[in-house]
């Protein structure tokens, strides 16, 4: 059975620290665009931690929600791409074929989560920052869309390793950069086709829900609700 990669994000654990955001930059060669471009809305964060503030002082409540590509099974971004640059893989990933992208940016519109980012200019790495680039991840040029890949380069590498060692991939052995960095382990990644994997069990959790499920895109990331404390919890 092929893998079907999925993720669970636990809002009860997430502290909004954004380790995942920087880890994603480091792993995936995501450029920084600088203050002028950031002010013009061109900052690229495949992973972002949305925060929503409710209430008034002193009864303030803050909600953190890491948002990344939901790797939808019925992804609108795939249907609208005229060149198949955005397409579905056998393992359920929304792949973005950078070389095939011509930059209509239609996928970015169709994505309800706004997790697709466009290279408005050629990325710049002031020397020697370029030495840090991950050789396993292509550097995207001007005019194309990019987004979270669930660290597909790590998936590929892990599959190569288990194939060479003639064994099955162990649950938790493979992690994308965000999940690996997350101090509170709020992000869990794994194979949804394995009913015993942690991510599968969390996907069945009563706390679980999908973000913007009503759009019918069948997202593969389960968000686990933040709980409220009551006396009985701690006993």
């Amino acid at each position: 059975m092929p893998y079907r990669w999925g993720m669970a994000v636990d809002a009860d654990r997430c502290t909004g620290c954004e380790a995942c955001v920087t880890a994603c930059h480091a792993e995936n060669n995501i450029p920084t665009v600088g203050p002028e471009q950031a002010a013009r809305g061109r900052a690229m964060h495949w992973m972002r931690v949305e925060r929503y503030v409710e209430g008034d002082f002193p009864d303030v409540r803050v909600k953190f929600r890491p948002v990344l590509c939901q790797q939808c099974d019925a992804a609108p971004c795939e249907a609208v791409c005229p060149t198949y640059a955005s397409h579905h893989t056998e393992e359920g990933l929304n792949a973005q074929v950078y070389n095939r992208c011509i930059g209509t940016r239609y996928c970015g519109n169709a994505c309800a989560y706004n997790v697709r980012f466009f290279n408005f200019f050629n990325p710049v790495w002031e020397k020697p920052l370029n030495l840090q680039l991950n050789p396993d991840v292509s550097v995207r040029g001007v005019g194309i869309m990019e987004k979270c890949t669930f660290c597909v380069q790590r998936i590929k590498a892990a599959k190569t390793v288990v194939k060479a060692e003639g064994r099955a991939l162990r649950d938790g052995e493979l992690q994308p950069a965000c999940a690996q960095a997350c101090p509170t382990s709020a992000i869990v990644f794994g194979d949804l086709n394995d009913p015993e994997s942690r991510v599968s069990r969390l996907a069945r959790s009563p706390r679980g829900s999908k973000l913007l499920e009503e759009t019918g895109a069948e997202p593969k990331i389960t968000y686990l609700a933040k709980l409220a404390w009551d006396e009985s919890d701690a006993r």
Binding site: E50, A79, V80, Y84, N109, A112, N114, I144, T215
Partner: protein, 452 residues
């Protein structure tokens, strides 16, 4: 009597082809400069990247797509109106059809440029086209952009035929009146037109077929353009009303564009004898109808959204109604309804200047409508953290201005090289049965039947 009338008619209408005023060169130069600056701006954009525009995350579409929809809308002026008028055999259409059809062809050409200008990597635009590649890669036929590709090309081809077919007899006329190189060029364009009965019948039949065939194509084109929006799960895009709404809006702006073009031609080429106030009044009435239809659609669209009260749609709704985009929204309503309605509804105001003024406001209003469809929705999707605002950069305005310049330039050149009013159709209008019985009046028919 008839013969002198014919002659003066022909003289009047081919005059611009034989007499070039200084104004023409001046105008062509000025417009050419505007177009060249637009091309230079586009070159700059290709060299540097789309970042030189104001587009941003998450408003990935902006001025270019606005202009795309606007120009495709304008293109509905011509062919659709002329086809309908032909089919219902409205007599007053005769001086109007060609200027209308030309608008279609040029507006389509310009409109179809915008998706290319808009591309992140325009040099790879041909990947949208279906062609056999060594890797068996085809475009994604599920994508509305690929539907656009087919729809626009079909419409462009159809409109071109629809425009060129009735030009053949006029080319022949010009051929017969000229010598040298010009005679050879127009001779080639006339495709050996001799004005035989058989040819006339063929032309009539072809025109009839085209007029019928072009109607569904025209309707489908703007429906498909609307699908670019309504197929995406974006608040206030994802709506079933978009197809007819866009078609109505397209015809609305198209008529307005036609009225403005006719008024300019009338003045510039001194065609007062052919383009009568009656033409403007009739088109004005049509414009009035479309204005009412437009208001109806806007109301129906908004009522549904408001009643539905879905929160991301409501955030777009309110940003239109009372939020950041309210000034643009209410300007649009004023331009498309509040101003043109009284002008067009009251006979006293439905004069040529009145109708032209109303048309200009409609053009502005319809451009704003496209802008308000594209931008606020993208900036207000379901997750408020990712909201954003778009504003154009100078380069987008330059490129937009240059397309208006291109339209004017193409129109000027066209009027310089082709009789802008269909001479033979005017003649047919003067002698309603002539073409059916050409041998009745040998002398008059001689105008058409030329010995090689």
């Amino acid at each position: 009597m008839n013969r002198t009338l014919d002659r003066s008619l022909a003289d009047d209408l081919v005059r611009p082809l034989f007499h070039t005023s200084v104004w023409f060169y001046g105008l062509a130069l000025a417009l050419g400069t505007v177009v060249a600056s637009g091309l230079a701006a586009w070159g700059y954009q290709i060299w540097n990247g789309i970042g030189v525009t104001g587009k941003r995350w998450p408003v990935f579409w902006g001025f270019y797509i606005t202009n795309f929809v606007f120009w495709i809308g304008i293109s509905h002026a011509g062919t659709l109106i002329s086809a309908i008028l032909r089919l219902v055999n409205a007599r007053w259409r005769r001086p109007v059809t060609r200027c209308a059809e030309v608008i279609t062809v040029f507006a389509l050409m310009i409109g179809a440029m915008f998706p290319l200008i808009h591309l992140g990597r325009p040099w790879l635009f041909f990947w949208m086209a279906p062609y056999p590649s060594s890797r068996d890669l085809w475009p994604n036929f599920r994508s509305p952009l690929v539907w656009d590709f087919f729809a626009i090309n079909t419409y462009l081809l159809g409109s071109l035929l629809f425009l060129v077919l009735p030009m053949i007899p006029d080319f022949a006329l010009v051929r017969d009146r000229s010598t040298g190189l010009r005679r050879r060029i127009y001779g080639a364009l006339a495709l050996g037109w001799q004005g035989t009965t058989k040819q006339w019948h063929r032309l009539e039949a072809a025109m009839q077929i085209m007029a019928i065939a072009i109607l569904p194509v025209a309707v489908s084109v703007h429906t498909i353009v609307s699908f670019d929006f309504s197929m995406a799960p974006v608040p206030m895009w994802h709506s079933t009303i978009f197809g007819p709404y866009f078609v109505a809006g397209a015809i609305f702006s198209g008529i307005a564009a036609l009225i403005v073009a006719m008024a300019v031609l009338r003045r510039a080429l001194k065609l007062e004898a052919y383009l009568h106030p009656m033409h403007f009044e009739n088109l004005g009435k049509l414009l009035l109808l479309m204005s009412l239809l437009w208001v109806y659609f806007v109301f129906a669209e908004r009522l549904t959204v408001w009643y539905g009260n879905e929160h991301s749609e409501m955030s777009v709704f309110w940003t239109h109604q009372t939020g950041n985009y309210a000034p643009l929204f209410w300007t649009m309503v004023a331009c498309n309804f509040l101003i043109p309605f009284p002008i067009l509804a009251l006979r006293k105001l439905r004069t040529i200047p009145g109708v032209v003024f109303a048309s200009v406001t409609v053009l502005i209003g319809m451009w704003l409508e496209r802008y308000l469809i594209v931008v606020p929705s993208l900036g207000h999707k379901a997750l408020p953290y990712s909201w954003g605002t778009y504003g154009p950069e100078p380069i987008e305005i330059v490129i937009m201005a240059s397309t208006f310049g291109a339209m004017a330039l193409l129109y000027t050149l066209f009027a310089r090289f082709v009789p802008i009013i269909s001479i033979w159709e005017m003649k047919v209008g003067q002698h309603p049965h002539r073409h059916a019985l050409p041998e009745e009046d040998e002398e008059a028919a001689g105008l058409w039947r030329v010995r090689p």
